[in-house]
């Protein structure tokens, strides 16, 4: 767990990092921040001298090179001004500090949420008990509901028999699965089978039976065995089930969840791509411009 935590520091750790007013970059310690500012924002582009502050650079430019400094180099568009005197973390206006703090916190929880959706793991450090309790309740509820569900959907009796068999075999798997390190939230062993069956059952009708053995060990990777939107999109079946149970809703809820996750997925793909301002593979902007009547040239006949 310790290793995991290092990868995802908690919000206090992030907030305590010194950061640069001009470019919003954060640093391990104040020394690094100050040397960053001297190199990136307070460096004279004439002689390379590194000054301590923007004011210092302005005076230097004025006296040594007879020039005036108009703005801070490499700064974000709204932070280029010379009015504020910044040195390390000193001099940052209160409202900017607050903005930064809010942004960090927002980003942090956003990242945590994204990670939760992506991995299906609960956020680190969160209490296991509340979840546990909900699960215990819903497990029974769901078993009941599952019986109803089965009665509705599976009119074929033989089919129901197979399902039962699957449930039994799958209950033997979870013990392995839950003993795996890094799968949090499992303490009393006796409950494991219930928990497990809550994972597998609702998704079962749409799943291929042959996929069942692979399923119990890794309930967090539903995407592998099931092409259907419901399970593939959910990312966290346990979580989804809890929500379903809370809302008292059955499968209708699923497509909605699927949509949400689906959006998240396409968003990520876009992230990688970036949007091109100009993307024609055959014609250059000049050729497009040349086609405009404004720039047209009619060659003289016979030329």
């Amino acid at each position: 767990m310790g290793k995991k935590k290092r990868g995802h520091p908690d919000v206090e750790e992030i907030l305590s990092r010194p950061w640069c007013y001009y470019c919003e970059r954060d640093f391990e310690d104040l020394k690094l921040l100050i040397s960053h500012q001297k190199a990136k924002h307070f460096k004279c582009d004439r002689c390379g001298r590194r000054l301590n502050t923007a004011g210092g650079l302005s005076v230097h430019l004025n006296q040594v090179h007879k020039e005036t400094l108009s703005q801070v180099e490499n700064a974000l568009p709204n932070r280029q001004g010379l009015e504020v005197e910044i040195f390390g973390m000193e001099g940052i206006p209160q409202e900017v500090l607050e903005q930064h703090r809010n942004r960090i916190i927002q980003n942090f929880y956003q990242a945590q949420e994204d990670r939760r959706i992506a991995t299906g793991n609960p956020p680190p450090g969160q209490s296991k008990n509340p979840r546990k309790k909900i699960k215990i309740e819903t497990a029974e509820e769901l078993l009941k509901r599952f019986a109803e569900y089965r009665a509705q959907r599976k009119a074929v009796a033989a089919n129901g028999g197979v399902m039962e068999g699957v449930v039994q075999t799958s209950t033997s798997f979870p013990q392995q699965g839950f003993n795996q390190p890094g799968f949090p939230g499992q303490q009393p062993h006796g409950q494991a089978p219930y928990n497990f069956s809550t994972d597998s059952l609702p998704a079962r009708p749409s799943a291929n039976l042959a996929g069942a053995p692979g399923l119990p060990q890794r309930p967090t990777q539903p995407g592998f065995w099931n092409g259907s939107a419901q399970a593939a999109a959910s990312g966290d079946e346990i979580d989804q089930l809890i929500r379903m149970a809370e809302a008292g809703v059955k499968p209708q809820k699923k497509p909605e969840e699927g949509d949400e996750a689906g959006e998240g997925k396409s968003k990520k793909e876009k992230d990688k791509k970036g949007r091109m301002i100009y993307d024609d593979a055959e014609f250059s902007p000049e050729e497009k411009m040349a086609a405009l009547s404004r720039y047209a040239y009619t060659p003289p006949v016979g030329a």
């Binding site: 400094l69 791509k273 949007r275 091109m276 024609d280 593979a281 902007p285 497009k288 047209a296 040239y297």
Partner: protein, 348 residues
């Protein structure tokens, strides 16, 4: 207020800038070709306060490229009227040298052998032997439509659509003139390291290689030498991108212009994001990124002595745009470079 070392040429061109060229001898004389059918002749000696415009040369159609010839009084232009012209800067006399069957995108002059090469959207190159004015230009068919053209002392690099890059040996062109042949094989044909449409090519002044840029915010640096070691050195990198305002990915701008610094071997890139960055090709490092210009950077040129950097700024052309007017929004900025501003720091 712009810093004292950077100023805008006045008056600016009347429409979008297509190319900028500095004179081979004088470090203050430059030509700017524009879509308003004119070539602007500026001189920087009067400084930022006075007007820098010496004169303009009217053409029949938008001018797409300009380059200097053997001396400061000879220039070549190419444009929408399919013609390659010689321009006498003293008299303003315009002489047609050859004609393509489509607009002529680029012209490049090779000083060492007195050759002028023009590249047109009709997918041909015209080779002009300037040492023998009576000779007729030779037309060479290209495997693709040329998008960019650049010359080094010994090579001519043509970048085409379909990621084709042909490198021609200048000496082979000289031989072609002597033998009177009409078939010129490229010294090398390469596939561009960049996946998207090539925007610009510029050759290293030390004749070792060249840089290309694409519409997809990327620049590639390659070497001519055809050895495994040299080819392994080639690389490409992303640049001229901006985080999208909604936080969703990047906005990727075309890299419209590349220019190598004659003395330091570093190069500048100018993109649709309105920024100009200086790069050290050898050390693979960015030396500098200048403050944003008010518009898309369309053309770049270093003066021959490396003292000035001229930046042509005009509105960019974006996908889906069906009208364009650069009038009133076009300008040419001159940046006076500090002594070591464009000098590489050396590999670290």
């Amino acid at each position: 207020m712009a810093p004292a070392t950077q100023y805008e040429l006045s008056p600016p061109p009347g429409d979008a800038v297509s190319a900028i060229a500095f004179a081979p001898i004088s470090g203050t004389k430059l030509l700017v070709s524009s879509w308003d059918n004119k070539v602007y002749h500026y001189d920087l000696t009067n400084g930022p306060e006075a007007s820098s415009l010496v004169t303009t040369y009217e053409h029949r159609a938008p001018v797409l490229d300009v380059c200097f010839g053997a001396d400061d009084n000879e220039a070549f232009t190419a444009g929408m009227d399919w013609t390659v012209n010689r321009l006498n800067l003293e008299t303003g006399e315009l002489t047609a040298l050859s004609k393509h069957t489509a607009p002529v995108r680029r012209v490049v002059y090779s000083k060492s052998c007195g050759i002028l090469v023009s590249a047109s959207w009709d997918s041909t190159l015209n080779l002009h032997n300037l040492n023998d004015p009576s000779s007729t230009p030779i037309t060479i068919a290209l495997p693709g439509k040329p998008q960019a053209l650049a010359g080094s002392p010994s090579k001519i690099v043509v970048a085409m659509t379909g990621r084709i890059i042909n490198i021609y040996d200048v000496q082979a062109i000289v031989e072609l003139f002597q033998t009177g042949g009409t078939d010129l094989k490229p010294w090398q044909q390469r596939e561009s390291s960049l996946r998207y449409l090539t925007r610009a090519v510029s050759c290293m002044p030390n004749d070792a290689g060249y840089a290309t840029s694409s519409i997809e915010g990327r620049v590639a640096v390659e070497w001519f030498e055809d050895t495994a070691e040299s080819q392994a050195r080639k690389y490409a990198f992303k640049c001229h991108r901006q985080a999208a305002p909604d936080g969703d990915g990047d906005i990727v701008y075309p890299v419209n212009a590349l220019a190598f610094h004659s003395a330091h071997g570093t190069f500048a890139s100018g993109g649709g994001d309105g920024t100009v960055a200086l790069w050290d090709a050898e050390a693979k490092r960015r030396l500098k990124q200048y403050q944003k210009f008010p518009n898309n950077v369309a053309a770049l040129a270093f003066s021959n002595d490396g003292k000035y950097l001229a930046v042509g700024v005009c509105p960019g052309f974006e996908t889906g745009q069906n009208d364009y007017n650069g009038a009133g929004q076009t300008s040419v900025f001159i940046r006076e470079l500090g002594e070591n501003e464009a000098k590489g720091k050396g590999a670290k």
